[in-house]
Amino acid sequence: MTRTVRPFLRAVWSEGTKLPSLPATRRVLLAAALLAAVLRVRQPAGAIAPDVGGYVLLQVLTAAAGALSVTSEYATGMMRLSMVAVPRRGLLLAAKAVVCAAACFAIGAVSGPAGGLYLALAGLAGVATGFLARSATAAWVLLVGAAVGDALLVRLLPDRPARAASRFSPTAAGDRFLDGRHAQSMPSPWAGAGLLAAVAVIALVSAFVVSHHREH
């Protein structure tokens, strides 16, 4: 147990040192925190649901921070040094994911736990995309594509399959989750959260598999 737990905690501490020190991630996270504060102030008194529109922008920022925490390492050869310091790639990826998710959760939590969870999942998807894409540009295309792409794809489908597909659209699920409203014929907000979490987990697992077999 200690053979994994202690190295993991050390890796977490190390990643927690990098995240605010690296200029790219620090700036994007600061911008996200600022936006979250503004959204919180604008939130009507008594409302538990955060502003969905603002959260789409916040989600993009936190996912970008997650991706940048990985791609800025690949861009400078730092990733190789990270893998020399923490040779178990699963531990390195998990530590990055945990640190990024925690930072994103803290930013979203100013408007309630739902917001925190939502942004943490976006951050995790960002980390996974960073490992898969390795370049900031490619990660950006993938993330934005995923954020708007499923809605566009649904629109291309004929009517009946489109309705079925939209039940499983992560973007729509995220909206419902933030909104907290339970529309009939649609899965519940928490099922939506589960769907988002499943997407993040699938992305992280594929990132682990890919980076495990990749040569550095």
């Binding site: 053979r3 202690r6 190295p7 050390r10 890796a11 501490w13 190390s14 990643e15 040192t17 990098k18 020190s21 690296l22 200029p23 790219a24 800025s72 390492e73 400078t76 050869g77 730092m78 990733m79 190789r80 040094l81 990270s82 893998m83 020399v84 310091a85 923490v86 040779p87 178990r88 040569e215 550095h216």
Partner: protein, 297 residues
């Protein structure tokens, strides 16, 4: 102690490292030299588990690098490129490295003192001159006070003063019983800094020994001959199977025959000898002969 056993790395079209077996022991500085593309960096990446081998094993202190607990407390590694993000401050770079392996934060100040980086802790890495970058790289390797140091190309692209400083430091570390492995493209830069040379060419180990061993084993060791009738002697030497070329108008450079044999021949064909001097090749020349014309400048 680094042990390589039949270590092989094949890519689709090339063999980067070809059936390499060697033991790199403590107490001396071992230099891994070879021209560009010889497989030095691949070899180090195999040792560090950054790329998996096609065949064979590489172990550090009896274990695969990836299986070492807190590897930086056992092995100090300087990569090429060093992997120091330009936007980080010197202190933060060393701090994340230290924390990843449970090394106490005060070691950061200590290694800065050891490497002459005092006062540079707040500077961003991209503002450092090459000399200080080298010092930062070495500082990172010393964080965990490791028994083994693996250093990829510290002398490439650095000022001679920095190379001398690094060479002296590595010798001191090896002298204290550590295992030190350094790579380089130019052997002359490591002459004096390294005790043992592993010469790599096209993924194969083509020589292993001290600078003296390499010079002595150089097949192209030649003898300078001055005599009355060099043209005639040259024909006789060629007939005897030696390699002959004119060094200048009346001097020959003879390879493939030893001085005594050349002297015997001059006596036999009654050529008056003025000079017979074995030409000691330099380490650089021996290296060139080993790796062919592919020596990087």
């Amino acid at each position: 102690m680094i042990e390589l056993r039949h270590l092989t790395k094949r890519y689709r079209t090339t063999t980067a490292v070809d059936d390499l077996t060697a033991t790199i022991g403590p107490g001396v500085v071992t230099a891994l030299v070879g021209p560009h593309g010889a497989g030095k960096t691949t070899l180090l990446r195999l040792v560090l588990g950054l790329v998996p081998p096609t065949r064979g094993t590489a172990t550090v202190m009896g274990r695969r690098y990836a299986d070492l607990p807190d590897p930086m407390r056992r092995v100090g590694v300087l990569l090429d490129p060093p992997g120091a993000h330009g936007g980080l401050r010197v202190r933060d770079h060393l701090l994340w490295l230290a924390r990843s392996n449970g090394i106490p934060g005060r070691r950061v100040a200590e290694v800065c003192g050891l490497t002459g980086l005092e006062g540079a802790g707040r500077r961003r890495i991209r503002t450092l001159p090459p000399g200080l970058l080298l010092r930062l790289g070495i500082a990172g390797t010393l964080l965990g006070d490791p028994d083994t140091l693996i250093i990829d190309g510290p002398t490439t692209g650095f000022a001679p003063a920095g190379a001398t400083w690094a060479g002296t430091l590595l010798r001191t570390l090896a002298g204290a019983g550590r295992t030190v492995l350094v790579t380089g493209r130019r052997i002359d830069e490591l002459d004096g800094a390294a005790d043992r040379f592993l010469v790599l060419n096209r993924g194969r180990l083509v020589a292993d020994g001290s600078a003296d061993d390499l010079v002595r084993a150089d097949a192209a060791e030649s003898v300078l001959v001055r005599c009355d009738d060099p043209g005639y002697l040259a024909r006789r030497l060629t007939a005897a199977g030696a390699g002959v070329r004119f060094a200048d108008r009346d001097a020959l450079l003879v390879t493939g025959l030893r001085g005594a044999d050349i002297h015997r021949l001059t006596v036999r064909c009654a050529v008056r000898l003025h000079e017979l001097t074995p030409q000691h090749t330099t380490l650089e020349q021996a290296y060139r002969d080993l790796v062919g014309s592919r020596v990087a400048r």
